[in-house]
């Protein structure tokens, strides 16, 4: 962490960046995001296993952009989001400085987004055993049980959209859920609307989600909504050979392979 802080201080004092986006102590021992604009405040930066929120979400927020060029403290989740955002033309290489951070708090500097991409090759985006187990548990239920499980789980949702706000990929100015011509999704919080909102969210994140769990962590009701995107990730890897965020041309659903499976098509 020492070298990260040192680098941050350097960047601020040389005015190479205007703000450092990082983690700091929050209330109740839960880290929160910090937007450090003075060299003196650099000391407030922390990093530990509790730092799970995805800071990349701030890179596209207008309020943060107003502060000037940022440097961002970036563990693997954030790095993945940066690559995906770069591919989606939401951030430019020249507009940010990325302060990569290893799990043991060491600084990794990157000269380019391409360098981040090659760094990430050592961190394959894969579901861990526990996640796989949960997926298998749900998939193993009968059709009726799965339906009951999800209607029950999603009935808790009251459409606060905290999940959306926490997600680095949900940067749209006007989300489809706010579209009313036509009104694709009913506004009120009720079963059908909840169901459709979460299905749509999962589909819109197919091949884009970086599996950071920010949505789940942000959910006041603790809904397992991240398992919808996890399922999509598993399916994409298994059936379409998806490997993770990349700067190369094409997104999972905007490209195709002529030999994609079609055993379900008559």
């Amino acid at each position: 962490m020492v070298d990260v802080k040192k680098k941050a201080a350097e960047l601020l004092s040389s005015e190479a960046v205007k703000v450092i986006i990082g983690y700091t102590e929050g209330t109740g021992g839960k880290p929160r995001a910090a937007f450090i604009q003075n060299v003196a405040d650099v000391e407030k930066l922390i990093f530990n296993s509790q730092c799970v929120m995805n800071l990349a979400v701030y890179l596209t927020k207008a309020e943060i952009k107003k502060l000037g060029k940022p440097a961002i403290v970036a563990p693997v989740n954030v790095l993945r989001a940066i690559i995906q955002l770069a591919f989606e033309v939401q951030i430019q290489e020249s507009d940010i400085v990325v302060l990569g951070i290893t799990p043991d708090e060491k600084l990794v500097e990157f000269q380019s987004f391409a360098a981040i991409e090659s760094y990430l090759e050592d961190f394959k985006m894969e579901l861990d055993a526990k996640e796989k187990e949960t997926l298998a548990k749900i998939s193993g239920m009968s059709l009726e049980e799965r339906w009951a499980y999800w209607t029950e789980e999603l009935s808790e949702c009251f459409k606060c959209y905290a999940c959306r706000a926490a997600c680095p990929m949900c940067y749209c100015h006007k989300c489809a859920v706010e579209q009313n011509k036509p009104q694709w999704i009913p506004v009120a919080a009720h079963q059908l609307g909840n169901m459709e909102w979460h299905i749509m969210r999962a589909m819109h994140l197919a091949g884009r989600c970086v599996n950071c769990d920010a949505c789940h962590n942000a959910c006041p009701k603790g809904i397992n909504l991240n398992f919808l995107t996890k399922l999509m990730l598993a399916d994409a890897q298994e059936q379409l050979g998806y490997t993770g965020p990349t700067l190369k041309e094409g997104n999972l659903l905007s490209t195709y392979n002529p030999n994609d499976q079609e055993n379900f098509i008559k």
Partner: protein, 149 residues
């Protein structure tokens, strides 16, 4: 249950399946009246949300049909659609939405007989499955809420 006649919506592309269904007509091949066709320019155009809307509004089954691989009038709309359905079908299934009620098919402009067969077997299969009450229940909940509120 024998009284139950399923409501089936068919989302088809203009160039292959719609034309194929036209051929079913010109060939006077008969099929069940349960199916109503909605014409799209291409399967690539079919928004997955429309499937949810159809179930929400009371469809018991859905047919999605377009050009065979490599035959898309727009080169690759069907390939894009196929990928979308691979992902969407997995998600629906995972959430307990009954994918047996969604029949994907390729029907070319020359396959009038195949269209009739797809319709008839889908109607028979969905009739066997019965009305899609699970999804409707969730949707009905919406209606009561709106009228009450």
């Amino acid at each position: 249950m024998s009284e139950f006649e399923p409501k089936i919506v068919a989302f088809v592309c203009n160039w292959c399946t719609y034309a194929g269904a036209d051929l079913t007509g010109t060939s006077r091949i008969k099929y069940a009246t349960n199916v109503k066709i909605v014409r799209f320019p291409c399967t690539g155009r079919i928004d997955f949300m429309l499937l949810l809307k159809a179930f929400g509004e009371g469809a018991d089954g859905i047919i999605i049909s377009g050009c065979h691989p490599n035959d898309c009038h727009y080169t690759s709309g069907n390939f894009h659609a196929r990928r979308r359905w691979v992902m969407f079908r997995g998600l629906m299934n995972f959430m307990g939405i009954d994918t047996r009620r969604v029949q994907f098919s390729w029907v070319s402009a020359a396959e009038g007989a195949k269209w009739a067969e797809i319709v008839n077997t889908t109607v028979d299969e969905v009739r066997e499955l019965g009305p899609y009450t699970d999804y409707k229940k969730v949707a009905d909940y919406l209606e009561t809420e709106v009228t009450n509120g």
